[in-house]
Symmetry: C2
Subunit: 538 residues, 2 copies
Amino acid sequence: MTRSITIFDTTLRDGTQGEGISLSADDKLKIAVKLDELGVHYIEGGNPGSNGKDVEFFRRVQELDLKAKITAFGSTRRKGASAEDDENLQRIADSGAQAATLVGKSWDFHVYTALQTTLEENLAMIGDSIRFLKQRGLEVIFDAEHFFDGYKHNPEYAKLVLLTASESGADWLVLCDTNGGTMPNEIGDTVSALVEEMPAARFGIHTHNDCELAVANSLSAVSAGALQVQGTINGYGERCGNANLCSVLPNLQLKMGLHCLPEEKLALLAQTARYVSEIANVHMPAGQSYVGSAAFAHKGGIHVSAILRDSRTYEHIAPELVGNKQRVLVSELAGQSNLVSKAQELGIELDPKSPQASETIGRIKDLEHRGYQFEGADASLELLLREASGEVQELFTFESFKMLVEKSAGKPVISEAFVKLRIGGESLYTAGEGNGPVNALDNALRKALLQHYPQLTDMHLSDYKVRVLDDKEATASKVRVLIESRDAKSAWSTVGVSGNVIEASWEALVDSMRYALLGQEPVKAVALMEPRQGLLNH
Amino acid sequence: MTRSITIFDTTLRDGTQGEGISLSADDKLKIAVKLDELGVHYIEGGNPGSNGKDVEFFRRVQELDLKAKITAFGSTRRKGASAEDDENLQRIADSGAQAATLVGKSWDFHVYTALQTTLEENLAMIGDSIRFLKQRGLEVIFDAEHFFDGYKHNPEYAKLVLLTASESGADWLVLCDTNGGTMPNEIGDTVSALVEEMPAARFGIHTHNDCELAVANSLSAVSAGALQVQGTINGYGERCGNANLCSVLPNLQLKMGLHCLPEEKLALLAQTARYVSEIANVHMPAGQSYVGSAAFAHKGGIHVSAILRDSRTYEHIAPELVGNKQRVLVSELAGQSNLVSKAQELGIELDPKSPQASETIGRIKDLEHRGYQFEGADASLELLLREASGEVQELFTFESFKMLVEKSAGKPVISEAFVKLRIGGESLYTAGEGNGPVNALDNALRKALLQHYPQLTDMHLSDYKVRVLDDKEATASKVRVLIESRDAKSAWSTVGVSGNVIEASWEALVDSMRYALLGQEPVKAVALMEPRQGLLNH
């Protein structure tokens, strides 16, 4: 029989303790929908006792009628007071959540130092709070804070805390490695011992990544008998983060053969990870395990040759199982085989032995040397490859642009751009305003192009990144601009490099529009112009 | 007796297989010096058979006279040829490296599919190559590629590969989890079995992070008897990266009580990690275990109150042990205690009960709401806190700036800026050029300020980052600019937010100069002006 593991997501609560992460009630609701689609069993929404945003979340999430149980987080009652009079506990009971995650101290040192109370009072605080929440009809998940530290220093007291919680009616006993300092073998040994001593209890595990072991520690606890894993999407969380569910889930399911999500749901993992990173506005590392854009990306020439023969040579699972895909990176380390395989992927015919192929490789190497990076700019790379096979025609002949930003005390800043170019025989000179220089340039350029390519109306810029390439003299060094554009159907990325951020943006902007119009004819048909020089029409 | 573990760094070889990582020979030499200072035992410099850059590295590194052994990487000889005639093996032997890392196949599937040869020929390739390198006087570290996959599918052949390597004279047998798909318990069981079967051999471990388990897998192998760990600084490497030495080292040394580096050297870890990330030009995640800027950063109000009582409450080790430090983050989640502790850290007197304290908290919350983030801009935060205590005076009264970027076909792009401001009674109007708009603004502003504050000559901008805050309409949305500045003694970061990247840059620029001049008097002493409005003088 396959053991089932319950997945408890705390992205919306513990995840928001991470540096730079802040979610509105709307953001939280959007993420909750995605988590429910993924099939997690519990969604911890926040702390209704701490702020109004979370109260709003708990009210509105009820209207969504999700399959996952919604849980509200809070601490045990205050010392020396009753649970009934505790405002935080009342707010949890009133929040509308089906379950409560109640955090209590299990490390004697913390009882003395942080709570500044007695060991007996701490037990009473735990017992009273659980009974109160159970009487109000909530399922109670008891999070034993600092459990592993407590168990190491005073195992009898740590166990007494669990017994108290269990006898007071807690449905789950979750062992927390709050400071993230415990090793996998200690976690395993501790959980094994507890499972033996308290066979009727259901244990969960909550780990942090301070030793880069949060995922391993979760797996170790499950191997020892834990039945619930608490974690966050992308491992967001305080300090080094919580256990990353995007790694825990496929490890449990694909590697250890346990049952967590309905099988077809695991393929939603990569898009869930990206969605949450978009909403949280946190950059997702390319190298993130399983779900990162580089997780199945191959750079070394030898690896690529082998991958083309059989992908199992350098891939531990089929990327599709977690909704990811194989990518071949183009870089100076790569042999000709990378580029040819990239061309194949795009359906471009490029004979590896042709002079065009070696010329294109030379050109890409030269551009990379000058600071371009095509690993993050697939559309610019595709344009280069299609140029090699003669498929790309230029949109226009560039003559000039001017960009002016002006700010006077007490007045709003003004951005204006002026673009001069020719399409066929026609000379165009347009002006655009914007709330920033790139926006003004975009508007002026669009005004000119739309006269010939009305298809561009659908397309807009969706992300804009600037990277300084040589940080020794920041404002006098090269910058690389990456622009992401979207239309109703797809998204694509382009790159520009220059000592001047405006020029680099212009390059990426022009590439973005060239890509949008690939294979499309101008509506006002005109004779097209000479091939461009480099990436920018000088 | 404490067991000693040998540390093998492959940042310069396997690390450069990571997406977006490219190191020149100069970069590699600089990093090698830092690695040697840290005290790693082996530094793998690259593959002298694959490119000229690595040949240059091996030649020049000899002049540095490092304590670490330098090792050169390469594959076994080609099938059907002799080791003596193999150009790659010759280059390794001629490189000047003291040791060779020789990678060979140990998974039968790979012998058939990637090498396309017989199992016998693969053994001969391994044996011949090792004997050749040993005859040329090199220490040989044999990297058994895909060992764990091989052992799972054909354990007899995988062991035969190790025996062949050992009998041919290999000094180390390193078991590689090349695809990163193996679980910690499998690693541990396999290493235990081998240590028992081949008691005379010295085993090493080389893991990848595809399951977010590279660190755990390294520890698991060491617990089972492996004596060498191969990894990279910051975990750089192909796909999801290699085992991160910045986590492996403190785990082995501080948690498992093993001996790796001289004890005082571990405190160099955080600065080594930052240095390598600077040279590799790869952003270091704030949440990186042990060495990240958020690894000991506290955000939640309750945590901060406890930390102020006793840092062991929420820190698993003293941050200083790995050269890191405690930080308190200011954010909407934080209570008054965070801000007061931040002020204390800076030596600013701020009475938590004063109206100034609550006014400053309100102001910071409002700015955060508008997109400012002070977690990455300590200097801007310090200016706000010092303003609250009346310590900051304005440098100038802003009147206007104008910024012009112009580009014509075939000509270089031009950037010019014009700044109008008053210092005391004096009206200043200056013009500056630059190779980018922020550089031009910096030059124009500096030209004006230097007349009164010659101290600014020493300071320059060292990093410049732009982040789009709402990526729904990229070029028409708010951007946040972070500027890092340096002088001979220190570095500081400032922030600006606006719909306009130039205005946001101006804000961060002005803050950066205000911070540089904190507590300094103008040389041309003049009556100073009215307090500024917001972060920018409108």
